[in-house]
Subunit: 356 residues, 3 copies
Amino acid sequence: MCTSYLDDKFVTFRNLPMEQRISCFTKRGRVFDMIMSQQMDRQFIDDIYHLTNKLRHISKSKAGYMFLQNILAHKRAMLYFNQPSSRTFLSFHNACHILGMKTSEIRDPALSSEVKGESDDDGLRTFSSYTDLIIMRHSKSHMAERAAWLLNTFSNRPIPIINGGSGQDQHPTQSLLDIYTLQRSFNNKGGFDGKTLLMCGDLKRGRTVRSLSFLMRNFSDVKVIYAAPKAFQIREDVLEALESYGVPYTIETESLQKVLPLADAIYMTRIQDEHDRDHGDSGKIDISKFKLKASDMVNVKPTAAIMHPFPRRDEVDVEIDVDPRAMYWRQERNGMWTRAALISYIFGVEHEILNY
Amino acid sequence: MCTSYLDDKFVTFRNLPMEQRISCFTKRGRVFDMIMSQQMDRQFIDDIYHLTNKLRHISKSKAGYMFLQNILAHKRAMLYFNQPSSRTFLSFHNACHILGMKTSEIRDPALSSEVKGESDDDGLRTFSSYTDLIIMRHSKSHMAERAAWLLNTFSNRPIPIINGGSGQDQHPTQSLLDIYTLQRSFNNKGGFDGKTLLMCGDLKRGRTVRSLSFLMRNFSDVKVIYAAPKAFQIREDVLEALESYGVPYTIETESLQKVLPLADAIYMTRIQDEHDRDHGDSGKIDISKFKLKASDMVNVKPTAAIMHPFPRRDEVDVEIDVDPRAMYWRQERNGMWTRAALISYIFGVEHEILNY
Amino acid sequence: MCTSYLDDKFVTFRNLPMEQRISCFTKRGRVFDMIMSQQMDRQFIDDIYHLTNKLRHISKSKAGYMFLQNILAHKRAMLYFNQPSSRTFLSFHNACHILGMKTSEIRDPALSSEVKGESDDDGLRTFSSYTDLIIMRHSKSHMAERAAWLLNTFSNRPIPIINGGSGQDQHPTQSLLDIYTLQRSFNNKGGFDGKTLLMCGDLKRGRTVRSLSFLMRNFSDVKVIYAAPKAFQIREDVLEALESYGVPYTIETESLQKVLPLADAIYMTRIQDEHDRDHGDSGKIDISKFKLKASDMVNVKPTAAIMHPFPRRDEVDVEIDVDPRAMYWRQERNGMWTRAALISYIFGVEHEILNY
């Protein structure tokens, strides 16, 4: 359509150094748009950790819950999801509702004005006309970044953008809930510093793995193991980032079994075959040695945390669900609370919550 | 997928005697999950009747309505409908809103994580992670029962499940609104005890007819007439249930006309041809003698109540809508109020409402 | 289906004189249903103008916003959109939320009971059973009018209907936001009376152009220019209406350029090729001379207002967005506020707002 004028400007922006890009998403020294996990420093991660715990605590009584209902009752959120999602969608939707926000949603592109030939840019400016926050998942990489850049640069009423997953690129709030779950799981076991994180599955195309890896720079003395067949191994840019952070990593391509006993946290992921159109047939690759079976649990540390961003297929046996080391159902629920914390932080109302 | 482990356990559960199954859906002696109409005894039906009337009365003033808005303002509901529905969906949705609940919805399976190969069990546990109530309609029979069983057995945070229609199996809240409508219609005519209920149409595959039939045990001296061509007649399991309750019934296969004058309540239903894939072509069967025409109304008792669960095609002439015996539009609206009553009952806040 | 009985009655109604049709949509001398822009007189337009400004002003503080949240908190709205829409949908949705209304939506006909053979009439009566307001967009012309007529004639609980766009017929709330934008743009420039409005694009099938044209009778001394290729020129019924109002107009079929310097307001629209199934291939017609380029802006009056109902393709260069004469983004946002004003007016709570 008519966006080549903006396309060029956005390419220029994307070529800026990371710090400058990040500063575009910052207002008054704080996170304003949440676009990529590189925006999260240790202070931010710890702030969200405490804020999340406080939110959960307050919500347990009806009086506390009603207090939260009033926190952002004067704000409206828009959830724009052009990829199938139930988990991330519902998690954000309920996070908004916990804070009293009213919500609107576009989940099926066929129902929107895209079908009439409207540009993505105009669509996003439209959403920003009616609401105070856009939470978006998009099949194209960098669409959340473009949206935030667009509003911050050209709109006289910029509103915050939260990236709920963009292409094969990033899923920063997933990494936020993952790191929260790791901090909480190891809270009475010396914290997450010094621990070994094993990530297994489709590391190449799984944006959750990418985003979580970028957070490792914030922790001391952590080690990372990537376990996957060669065809699904982690991309070079992530390894380069880890090297620049000084975070040691190991690549395991034969089997999950070999590295299982070394791990404090085991982060399992599914094969992302919805991306197969672009990358060939992943069905031909043998992934049978990169699944977690109930019988494997004897080789897992008694203090370990088993995680999964979901949805799962058969990477983790259902029998493991009742094992106390299985953290994935709690991890999922943590997502709603960390997202509520993030939203309240972005709107600058965290002190009202912390002072309750 | 990975659910065969649970499949076996659920088969075992389903083979338990009805009382034991029902007790799985009961907490502290009260209905917790609403799965099948066999759960409803006369006390429950009467409680919901009074609660519904009280809710309607309170809602008439703005002050009363605002009181109701606060009743469950600290709870969030999830509506999961994988079959097309507007009536049941909207009825529940607005029932939740009347009580101040915030709602989330999954109505199009293509938007959910099912497309990524997630099991139904994991999907339901996910919904339960974010909300306090799941209202579900599902194309597979027994899915609501499985969901309730799953959460009550394996989750450390079970939330109530309400069955909004499961396959060709049951639709218990429809029977609840039907029985409410019958009680209300005959409130000044001696009550529903002793009356004759005529049900007509696709009795074989209509889950509303099945669920309503199971409620007949709760009333004294009622008679049931099933009018339909042989191919659409009521199934054996329902007749066996009536026999065990001691409720007399008649089967009429020639025409509605023959039995019309005998009925106090006439419950019309449409042909459920969306199920035709499984059961052959229902279009070949002559149903012309099982429709209610405006000209038939002279043969209907002056005190009768004409009902229909909707949607209708041409089973009931539109001209009949203005006849005072036509109860179906009120019946539809009753659905919202009885569902609001049910939800408040399940959350144990009915005394707050009754004491207003 | 079974609606021929009502079809005949509706044809009779549609043949009544305009005043009688309009009076069907009026209660206690006020607009009750908003069906067509012929219902709007100058008093109404000015009332909505002031009410909208007041609403915007109140909403700026959290206390004011929370006051508005309470205005219609006892009412529930239904948004029934069977055509793709994001802008109009979101605009109404958020307008409802600003006033504290809870909302339900049917946006995908495949999810509704239409697929089970239910008539439109029954569907609409169903929506009216559960809610207090129906906002509808429909692909068929006159469906909103039929819905309002149906409920006002046959229901014992009529609720207001707002037409959010019906076929190629009308889009009255678009004309309401357009006239608000014109009044606001020329507020410090002598008002809209006496100004020249240039409309350009697919005038034949654009219902926004039609609805806005019908409003011209309410202003003194305005002139209208219609600029489009012959194949897309305005229909005769609109020209006849202008003649009956005494509003002078010009038809320009060669190029936008020729008339650009004459205009105070320039209303650009896109080609409505989603209607092409009915009207032949619009792609064959050369519309290149009816686009607004950045280089054209030197020929536009310095006081002019550039408008567009959106979505746009390339009728207006993106570079123009930063020109202070570009009013379209504000126009879009005005839509939400005028719709909130309209809804509060229909429910008769405008004095509560004006007295705040």
